[in-house]
Symmetry: C2
Subunit: 188 residues, 2 copies
């Protein structure tokens, strides 16, 4: 029996993306978001949503660029920290000991140690309400070579991305593969 829980963002399995940006003085920052996703194939684009009060919000508007660094599960502690501290108060790269790498394509840094990186230039931004959506065209994807399968595809099992359970506030790892897409559903 279904019960009503009201107008709330009660989703369960969300991404964990670390967003790299520079401020006006060129200081690197990184913050973790769960509110984002792929939004277009051509141009290849992702969307992230930020509150105006975030340090990263001003940085992205200033540079019209950001990176997405996808942490593997071994970096869960750092990814969580990037969502707790503010770049206004501390240099999160310095505190975490991770490396800001300057993108050669956009005016934003990425996390050198993380296995999967997107370099994005902002092509649209929309205010929705409490959050503003930044749509970033992916100019390049960079991966650690050992994370790549045949056919130049990212291997989810080697990358080991984190899954965020919003509201219950917990990070999960990826479990077993339970089916091939466009195949398992052919027979109903």
């Amino acid at each position: 029996m279904k019960k009503s829980f009201g107008a709330r963002t009660l989703l369960t399995a969300l991404p964990v993306w670390c967003i790299g940006s520079y401020d006006a003085d060129g200081r690197p920052n990184v913050m973790t978001v769960a509110w984002g996703g792929v939004c277009c194939s051509k141009p290849p684009s992702v969307t992230i949503s930020l509150r105006k009060a975030r340090h990263t919000y001003g940085n992205i508007l200033e540079k019209m660029a950001y990176t997405v660094s996808v942490p593997s599960e071994q970096y869960v502690r750092q990814a969580d920290y990037f969502g707790i501290a503010s770049g206004r108060d501390v240099d999160k790269f310095e505190v975490s000991g991770l490396t800001p790498v300057r993108s050669e394509l956009v005016d934003a840094p990425y996390v050198g140690e993380f296995p999967l990186i997107l370099e994005c230039r902002v092509i649209h931004h929309h205010e929705i309400g409490a959050h503003t959506q930044f749509i970033g065209e992916i100019l390049d994807v960079k991966m650690d070579e050992e994370m790549v399968m045949e056919g130049d595809q990212p291997d989810i099992e080697r990358i080991g991305p984190l899954i965020y359970s919003a509201h219950t506030g917990a990070y999960y790892r990826i479990g077993e593969c339970i089916g091939k897409a466009f195949k398992i559903g052919r027979k109903q």
Copy 2:
């Protein structure tokens, strides 16, 4: 050592959301998308991206409404099917044996058997390129009572949502919890 893989949507862990809509004649349809995410807390909103050629695209524009039904892992076969077949050709609810339930809040059906449902009215739509983004305000969340934890939160372990590995084309289950958010990162 990082290698460049070009301008592509090479993300790994994506959501599996089944989007319910009615066509102009009131026939229910459901399609699976991986390109979506939460995008605002106030109003509580989600975004999904669709190609114009999709049957669901016209349905949503007509009704300015959709639902998100989150399948649990036991429905991986049906969720995959909803992404393979087109509502132009078949009644996917009938073929899969699942139940279209009419939302009382928006002009769209949801999948009665799936554990977590969002009922959304479209508040914005943007053409990005090959895909159009539909931002839906969540008017209500419905859950099976046995999926809910203390504090009215969805229990990710009971719901058992699917994770989609794009490009390698596979579905994964959620694995173990590896840390509490806003806690594990406090100490660097």
